[in-house]
Point group: C2
Chain length 234, copies 2
DNA sequence: TAGTGGTCTAGACCACCCG
DNA sequence: GGGTGGTCTAGACCACTAT
C-alpha cells in the first residue's frame, strides 16, 4: 500500500484513500478527516484532496455532505457503465463483417400502445422501419423502429436502404434524453425467422426511447440473436 | 440558450457548451477553441473552463488531446449508468415486502466450468448457495452462487439462513473488480419451479463475478421472474 | 518545437446543514 | 453558529503530441 509522501498527485491520493477503505482502515459508515486535515497529511493542498475525494464519491465509494463531512459508504453503489455502441461498431469490434439490410419502411398512424408509450397523440404520423444487422452474414440483430415524423420531418427524405436509421439519427439528431431497457422476450414468428432462432426461444431484447428537448423522437426495439450476452467490467 | 456573461460557474459553462454542441454551432468532429480562449469569452479562468470541458468529455460528448485540442465527438458514446442495487433495495423501492429464503448450502469441489471461468484450480473448494428472493411473496429472483472459500474463509462461518450472501459479501468483502453480464436464458426445470414460470420460457439473467485483489471471490447467477425489465434513464 | 490540455498551488468566499 | 465541502481565482510548471 502506498504511503503518504510529498508531491502526491490527486491520483496518488485517490489510491491511498481507496486502499484505506478497502483495508477497513476507514471502515464503512465512518467519517474521514476533513479535506484540510488530509491536505496536511498528504503535504498537498485542499484543492487536490478535494478532487481525489470528489472523484471517489462519483465512483460510489464515499458520500460527502457539507458540514457533515465525508463518509465511507457501507455498500458501495457501484455503477455499471455500459457504453451503447452502434451495432455497426459492436460488430466491427469482433472482427466480423457488418452487413445491413432494410426489411420494411412505411408511414403509418401511431398504434395506440405507441402513442401512450411516447405520450403523443393517437394516430400521429410515424415512420415505421424494420431492418436487419448481420455479422459475417449471420443474423445479429433485428431492429424494429418507429420515428415520430413531426419531431424530425427530415426523416421522410432520408434513405435507409443503404444504412440504418440508427446511423442517420445519431448524425442528425442530438438527442437530449434517453430511456434504455433490457429484458428477455420470447421469439415470435417474425423474430424467429429473422434471427434464425427456434420459435418461442428466449431473445435478449433492448428497448430504447429517445427525446429531443422533451419531444419524443424514436422508439426502437432491438432483438439480439440467440447467445447474445451483454458484458461490462468495472 | 444561456448567453455567456460574467461570473459563470463551471456548470453554466457546461450548459452553454452542451447547447452549442446540440445546436450544431460546434458541429461533430469540429475543434473547440482552446481553454484559454474560452476562459476569455466566458470571463472566467482556465481552471473553471477546464472542469466544464473535462466533465463533458467524461460524459462522452468531447474528446480531448494535448496539443490537438478539444473535439466534438460525432456519435456521442453515451454511457448508460446502471446502479446495481441489492435485491432487497430493489424490491423495497417498489414498495413491496422483501422476503428471503435459503434453498441450499453446501461445500463442494468446483466443477470444471467454474474453475475455468474463475481461473482457479480444478476441484478447489467452493461454497455453493441457492436462494430465493420474494417481493410480496411472489418470486422475484432465484440466485445461484459459488463462493471461493480460499479467497474468503470467513464465509464458512457465516449464516445464510436469515439473509442472503449478497448482503453478507457486500458488508464483508470490499471487492475491487467486477464483471457483469446480462442475457436471456431458457427456464430449466429448477428455475421454472422457483420462479413459477413455464418451462422453457425466457428468463432475464444476470451473471456477476467479483474479485478481491485479482483473486476471484464469487460468481452469482441471478434469474429474474418473468416480466422483469431493467431500465435506465440518462 | 510550439501549442494544448493536465495538474498543482495558495488563497479566498460562500452555501449548506448538523448540532 | 460554526465547520465542512463547493467552487472560483490567478498563476505556474509540466507532459504530451501534432506538425
Amino acid at each position: 500500500m502506498p504511503a503518504p509522501r510529498a508531491n502526491m498527485s490527486y491520483r496518488d491520493i485517490k489510491q491511498v484513500v481507496l486502499d484505506r477503505i478497502q483495508n477497513r482502515i476507514w471502515a464503512p459508515d465512518s467519517l474521514l478527516p476533513s479535506e484540510t486535515e488530509l491536505a496536511v497529511e498528504f503535504s498537498s493542498t485542499r484543492t487536490t484532496v478535494n478532487r481525489a475525494l470528489r472523484e471517489l464519491a462519483e465512483e460510489g465509494y464515499l458520500e460527502r455532505k457539507r458540514k457533515a463531512g465525508t463518509r465511507v459508504l457501507n455498500s458501495p453503489v457501484r455503477k455499471a457503465q455500459f457504453s451503447i455502441p452502434l451495432v455497426r461498431d459492436e460488430i466491427a469490434e469482433t472482427g466480423a463483417a457488418y452487413r445491413y439490410s432494410l426489411v420494411e419502411s412505411r408511414i403509418m398512424p401511431a398504434p395506440a400502445w405507441l402513442s401512450s408509450r411516447l405520450d403523443i397523440l393517437q394516430k400521429q404520423e410515424v415512420l415505421h422501419l424494420r431492418c436487419m444487422h448481420y455479422a459475417d452474414n449471420a443474423p445479429f440483430q433485428y431492429e424494429v423502429r418507429w420515428v415520430v415524423t413531426e419531431s424530425i420531418p427530415e426523416v421522410l427524405d432520408a434513405d435507409f436502404t443503404e444504412s440504418g436509421p440508427n446511423d442517420w439519427l445519431v448524425q442528425k439528431v442530438p438527442f437530449t434524453n434517453l430511456e434504455l431497457s433490457f429484458m428477455a422476450t420470447k421469439a415470435d414468428q417474425t423474430v424467429s425467422e429473422f434471427l434464425d432462432a427456434p420459435l418461442g426461444d428466449p431473445v435478449f431484447t433492448a428497448e430504447r426511447i429517445t427525446w429531443l428537448r422533451n419531444k419524443p423522437v424514436t422508439l426502437a426495439k432491438l432483438f439480439f440473436a440467440p447467445g447474445y450476452k451483454m458484458t461490462t467490467h468495472l
